[in-house]
């Protein structure tokens, strides 16, 4: 089944000033997709359509076959968990534990099941020791992890993350990457909005690029993020690895290298003859 179907989507906040124009794509269940583009390209506006926070002005968005215009945000949130960019906007409970329990209680899980899941996820994200603290006592990185935990705990079929790596140091970044890798391996549909090209090529299969409210590219992450013109249109820069491969074109290096390992292999070949 299709996880998400977007057809002829138009949206504006101020009448006539389109933020999204004629957006079309389909995401299969189990796909991992990054949505990229410059500041103000319409990325966050687009993902707010996935759980019905915004409804199309023209066109339609379907989530697991359901038209978002015919569903409530609560119904859709059960299917699509969104982790927004700023965890401060998302966290509101008195304690870390209550934060994680909130969705489970709302969706009517049994008390036993709630306890099991909450303790498991807090352990997984190394948040157990904070369970009685207010979320606002946590560091930015911990808040981000808590926001992710409180979405993953109810196991939505589709997980959407807005800028998961912003302001994260190398350790946190690795942790978040591991979590997402696990979800992708388990066959979840994972969608992330990001500027982070390195993160995108490491984890995701497919990239959708927006520029000024229009979809300008959609394809294999390696092809899209090594295409100079697309990168430029989206205010992105190639990863250091890709840039290095481009500079070594004369030695026969292919254009679409994205991983350290590939670059290394080509360098070894070039230097060992």
């Amino acid at each position: 089944m299709l996880a998400i179907e977007v057809k002829g989507l138009y949206f504006y906040y101020v009448k006539g000033e389109y933020v999204l124009e004629d957006i079309n794509f389909e995401i299969e269940e189990g796909e991992s997709v990054v949505i990229m583009g410059s500041n103000g390209a319409g990325k966050t506006t687009l993902i707010k359509h996935f759980n019905g926070l915004l409804k199309p002005i023209k066109g339609h968005v379907k989530v697991l076959g359901k038209d978002t215009k015919e569903c409530t945000v609560a119904e859709l949130s059960k299917l699509v968990g969104i982790v927004f960019q700023n965890p401060g906007h998302q966290l509101f409970a008195e304690t870390v534990e209550k934060e994680v329990r909130f969705a489970l209680e709302n969706f009517g899980f049994s008390e036993n099941e709630i306890r099991r899941r909450v303790s498991e996820i807090l352990k997984y994200f190394a948040l157990e020791k904070y369970k009685n603290l207010s979320p606002f006592n946590l560091s930015e990185g911990e808040k981000k992890r808590l926001a992710i935990a409180s979405v993953l705990v109810y196991e939505p079929d589709i997980v959407v993350l807005d800028e998961p790596t912003i302001g994260q140091d190398a350790i946190q970044r690795k942790k978040i990457a591991e979590v997402l890798r696990g979800l992708i391996r388990d066959g979840k549909t994972v969608i992330a909005v990001t500027h982070d090209v390195e993160f995108a090529v490491e984890l995701f299969q497919r990239a959708i690029i927006l520029s000024r409210g229009r979809l300008i590219a959609d394809g294999d992450v390696k092809d899209v993020l090594t295409d100079q013109e697309i990168l430029k249109a989206a205010n992105l820069l190639p990863s250091q690895i890709t840039e290095c491969a481009w500079l070594l074109r004369d030695l026969g290096f292919p254009n679409c290298i994205v991983s350290i390992q590939e670059l290394e292999e080509h360098i070894i070949k070039a230097l060992r003859g």
Binding site: E140, N235, L236, L237
Partner: protein, 292 residues
Amino acid sequence: MKERLISIENVTFYYTGSRTPALKDVSLSVYRGDFLLVTGPSGCGKSTLCRLLNGLIPHFFSGELRGKVQVLDYDVKSTPTHVLARHVGMVFQNPENQLFLSSVEKEIVFGLENLGLPKKEIKRRLEEVIDLLELNDIRDKPPYELSGGQQQKVAIAAVVAMGPEIMVLDEPTAHLDPLSSKEVLSLVFKLNKELGVTVILVEHRLDMTINRVSKILVMNKGEIILIGEPRDVLNNKHLEELGVNTPKVVKVYNELKEKGIVLSQIPLTPEELASQVKLRRARLIHDVSNRS
């Protein structure tokens, strides 16, 4: 010998109500014209260090401050922030928190009026900074209509106009897309090179900055654990464990080294890595053709 602008001696700082120090016995000297990159994991004390330099600590954020902080000729503990603000300009992560007037021009003029400068001098500085930072096209626009990158440039312009000897930037590109980040950072490098402004830049991403800074400082748990020239700091094997995002080209260098290919020096950019590979390859071909 370069002139010392900042001298921090054995500084320990506790925020009110906290039992763990945000800074622990920190000592640091910064000289005129330096470009210092400060990095380290979340919560390591980077922002606290920044706040010391313009007196936000101890005058705005209260707490227990031990040790000595001297900026230019001022003892920070006994100097009011409005005096320090003339010499130390601050730029934060989110320019929206810093901009509040109805046009870019007014935004730049605001700080100058506060300094009590004569009209003529204000006009001169305004034109100078608009010219230097290429803001002419947007000078009449309200900041909230600008892109994030433009807003950050305006925030920097408003600070630069006040003519500070020192600029402190705390993750100024965190909310920007890569190309806008690069533009904002180029601007900061320009200020350092052309105006001789001493810069202290807090940044998680090393890949865009490392080839142009004079020194890197790595903090962890309130302490300075490494400080030195970029290549020397990158040589440390434990950087990743310390939460430092090592640039990919450095990782390639390290992995090649493990496989027995030792390039002449740690590359700071893709260009440096590529040129080292090209050079090595040319030598190889030369050797082979000599042999045959």
